[in-house]
């Protein structure tokens, strides 16, 4: 049984998979806030080159990967598929666990899978410089690497609170030749406006995006090299580029004659999850029986301490009674906890597939994710990015579930990145600075009084 399953360089996928061609319920185009007409390519032209906009709206199932992009992918792709034999042994559950190691990229995560094609498409369109925003620097460092590969300038507006806390990814950006400045900055009107109101503003992703977009839109008029904006998640073309992960995984699994019962990925904006999962979603739409799980963070005890009952979906009791895990509609608005993937900037394609019941959204609390990450590091050896630990927590849940059910399962998880630049988070965990709220039973009982009179759904 091989621990690592490789593809030869000539076996790398030569096309990306566009799930828009196979969506059971086609996505409706967003409406322009000014005209209320569907957003068209020209609306996005000030910030994206037209070749990427064409991908954003494409309905073609397969889109060729340009040779120049493949050449750069070969720096680290095809990425290895591992069999997690040591974790399997540790868990003692009837599961085969495979993981796609996306931590082998120069930036240490899956993000260069889209940064490289975005830099390439900008370059061939005549763009000289790319502006972007970044939080703790995962996306900024990936784009800095990609721009360096194609000889483009990169300008990264990094949220000030992260800029001051986290020097390492900033230094990675600098090493690859990018300019990284704290946002809000004095270089844009958006930044200056915020600083005039609050000179000590810690910044936010919203402010940083405003600065990067303004930088791109005003570049020519302000005498800067022709600039466009780049986004590392959420958008259709970003998810498209990431599908190289799942397409490789399918080929690698085929080499050992295997296929997953379950595919798991962590879901922030949705790009790493979609990259691994969408080729398998295609199989599921075609009739394959497979569970696909997107994992997000929570600190809410609803799923573990709530009662499965009928409840209103809202505090004003306007919705029909819905069967749900609940602490009662008076506790915390249900939409904040249920279907959370729809409420914080998740990719619309992923959200739609959750709504369609093709993907399961699952939330895991903080401590469980770090415990999973430590278990992983002490069995498989690799130290995971904290985001990746969410997927590992769900993986361990599924392994135990297989044991309880007495069923053999094959699980594929996307190991989206290493955590070697995130060790401060592990330090906080080891020092006991992280916690999950232990909601007192009295508070739960009080909240549940509100739904005592409602009918009870049948279980099982």
């Amino acid at each position: 049984m091989p621990v690592k399953i490789f593809l030869n360089e000539d076996e790398i996928p030569r096309q990306w998979y566009n799930i828009a061609a196979d969506m059971p319920n086609p996505m409706q185009p967003p409406l322009h806030p000014g005209t209320m007409q569907p957003v068209g390519p020209q609306d996005l032209a000030p910030v994206f080159p037209m070749n990427l906009i064409e991908q954003e709206v494409s309905q073609e199932r397969w889109i060729d990967i340009p040779d120049e992009v493949l050449d750069k992918y070969l720096i680290w792709r095809p990425s290895p598929l591992y069999r997690a034999v040591h974790l399997e042994k540790f868990l003692g559950c009837p599961v085969k666990i495979y993981y796609k190691n996306e931590g082998v990229s120069p930036a240490g995560s899956h993000k260069p899978n889209t940064a490289i094609p975005q830099a390439y498409y900008n370059k061939v369109f005549g763009i000289k410089r790319i502006a972007t925003e970044t939080g703790a620097g995962q996306w900024g460092s990936a784009l800095a690497f990609a721009c360096n590969q194609f000889g483009l300038e990169a300008k990264v507006y990094m949220v000030r609170v992260s800029y001051e806390q986290k020097p390492y990814r900033r230094l990675m950006m600098n090493t690859w030749g990018a300019t990284c400045i704290p946002s809000p900055s004095t270089e844009t009107e958006a930044g200056r406006k915020i600083l005039s109101m609050d000179p000590n503003s810690p910044g936010s992703l919203g402010i940083a995006i405003s600065e990067a977009v303004e930088d791109a839109v005003t570049s020519e008029a302000m005498g800067r090299p022709l600039t466009r904006y780049s986004l590392g998640s959420v958008l259709n073309h970003v998810l498209l580029h990431q599908t190289v992960i799942g397409l490789e995984a399918q080929k690698q699994l085929a080499k050992v004659g295997d296929y997953p019962d379950i595919v798991i990925g962590c879901a922030g904006g949705g790009s790493n999850f979609a990259g691994c999962a969408f080729p398998f979603v295609r199989d599921k739409i075609a009739g394959k029986k497979i569970d696909i799980i997107a994992v997000e963070p929570t600190s809410c005890p609803t799923m573990t301490k709530g009662r499965f009952a009928y409840d209103f979906g809202d505090t004003v009791q306007m919705t029909p009674l819905l069967p749900m895990h609940t602490l009662g509609h008076t506790f915390v608005p249900e939409p904040i906890h249920a279907g959370g993937l729809r409420y914080h900037g998740m990719a619309p394609l992923v959200s739609q597939l959750v709504m369609d019941g093709i993907i399961e959204a699952r939330a895991v609390p903080q401590l469980e994710t770090f415990n999973a990450g430590v278990t992983w590091a002490r069995s498989e050896g690799f130290i995971s990015a904290p985001e990746t630990n969410h997927a590992l927590a769900a993986l361990i849940q599924e392994a135990h579930k297989a044991k309880e059910e007495g069923k053999e399962k094959t699980i594929l998880v996307n190991w989206s990145g290493h955590g070697l630049v995130d060790l401060a988070a592990y330090d906080a965990f080891f020092q006991g600075k992280l916690s999950d709220y232990d909601l007192p039973q009295s508070a739960i009982d009080e909240a549940l009084k509100a739904i005592e009179a409602f009918p009870k759904p049948k279980l099982g």
Binding site: V47, V161, V217, L231, S299, P333, I336, A425
Partner: protein, 96 residues
């Protein structure tokens, strides 16, 4: 905004922000959207204190709903709004 006598752990507790990918305090989350709370603030902090009660004390019901229950704009729509803002900025600069 209403007054609040409730005192959450503003600066002494850090959690990992799933959007930034790094540690933040509640003091950051409660003003993340230009003095308005981050849409995820309740989801992220309910594991530490009764954050929903804190915001219900400080916000009117309409403000609370707008902060936490309204669907955020899609990324594409947000970008188009920012493009328009940037264009206006440029027009104003060119007039000066």
């Amino acid at each position: 905004m209403k007054d609040s006598s409730f005192s959450p752990p503003f600066e002494e507790t850090e959690i990992r922000c799933p959007r930034l990918g790094g540690p933040v305090t509640f003091g950051y989350c409660r003003i993340e959207r230009q003095q308005r709370p981050c849409q995820r603030a309740i989801k992220c902090w309910s594991g530490h204190f009764d954050v929903a009660a804190f915001f219900r004390e400080r916000l009117t019901p309409d403000e609370f709903d707008a902060c936490f229950l309204e669907q955020p704009l899609s990324k594409v729509v947000t970008l188009i709004e920012l493009i328009e803002q940037a264009r206006k900025t440029l027009e104003n600069k060119q007039k000066q």
